[in-house]
Subunit: 155 residues, 2 copies
Amino acid sequence: MPNNQEQFKDLLRKNGLKVTNQRIAILEALSDRPGEHLTAEEIYDVVKKDYPDIGLATVYRTIQLLSELNLIDKLNLDDGYVRYEIGSENPEENCHHHHHLICLDCGNIYAFQDDLLENLESRIKETLGFDVVNHEVKLYGYCKECINNRAVKSN
Amino acid sequence: MPNNQEQFKDLLRKNGLKVTNQRIAILEALSDRPGEHLTAEEIYDVVKKDYPDIGLATVYRTIQLLSELNLIDKLNLDDGYVRYEIGSENPEENCHHHHHLICLDCGNIYAFQDDLLENLESRIKETLGFDVVNHEVKLYGYCKECINNRAVKSN
DNA sequence: TGATTCTATGCCAAAGGTTAACAATACACA
DNA sequence: TGTGTATTGTTAACCTTTGGCATAGAATCA
């Protein structure tokens, strides 16, 4: 998407924020890796290749900014690092239907789409009066590859 | 449940672990507060009333132990604190069906039971070959009380 | 283009929850 | 009661993340 960068610049200007090389570089680092879940440190290392003078604090500040602009999604796996991934550009696949499968063996993260909770949320609204506006679903288990590897090993 | 403590002692002995006053006090602190979600610091403060010499490190170590014994459940709300709650003694209400509603206004946490994901998990197994063994569902929104308070305020 | 303004950056130090190290304690078992 | 070993309390360290501050640089206007 060559015009993604222009859209980002417009979005910054529209919010009274300045367009800087650092901000563009950090967004690009994530845009170039759709489906990957990078820590702040990993983003820092990637961006440093093209921009050796960037500071880690700038990465953290920009991550927060991108998160507030809903351009990236946060993922916390309770391993001491918060991870970030580029949001889908397709509004149909918004993050409300975007969930994660986490393999307990290899640590890989798989995404899947499902609107199963829609039904549950309206039921919660009716029975408890609680109005759900967002949710986070993490499924832990074992991926196909690791299941196969185990079967091979045990032979 | 007066025999809960005895069950705990047996469980410790069965695992080759020692029965200590600190471990019992920490489990009791959580058992006395079902449905509450306490941070390590909060558990520390509670236990210190009866056991002033206890150290914070012991609380952390015991929390980890109780978690491994599946006696308590972990809850991370991404606010910088990990919280813990006593697990249900009813096997029907196991943590696999135990989910959380978090009010974005007052911060209260409400629990609800649902087995909605069972269906999804078998579908994932069939289509992706991923074997789900555990899951974590957090629903964010606004509780009944806060919705009412808002309506009152805006009048 | 050049001056001005104010945001953004880089560097550094601090914050803050959690864990590690280690000597002292106390549980378990004979 | 004595011995061996796990557990505890204290303290310091860890490590990700955030705050402070002087400087650099983007936006705006002349």
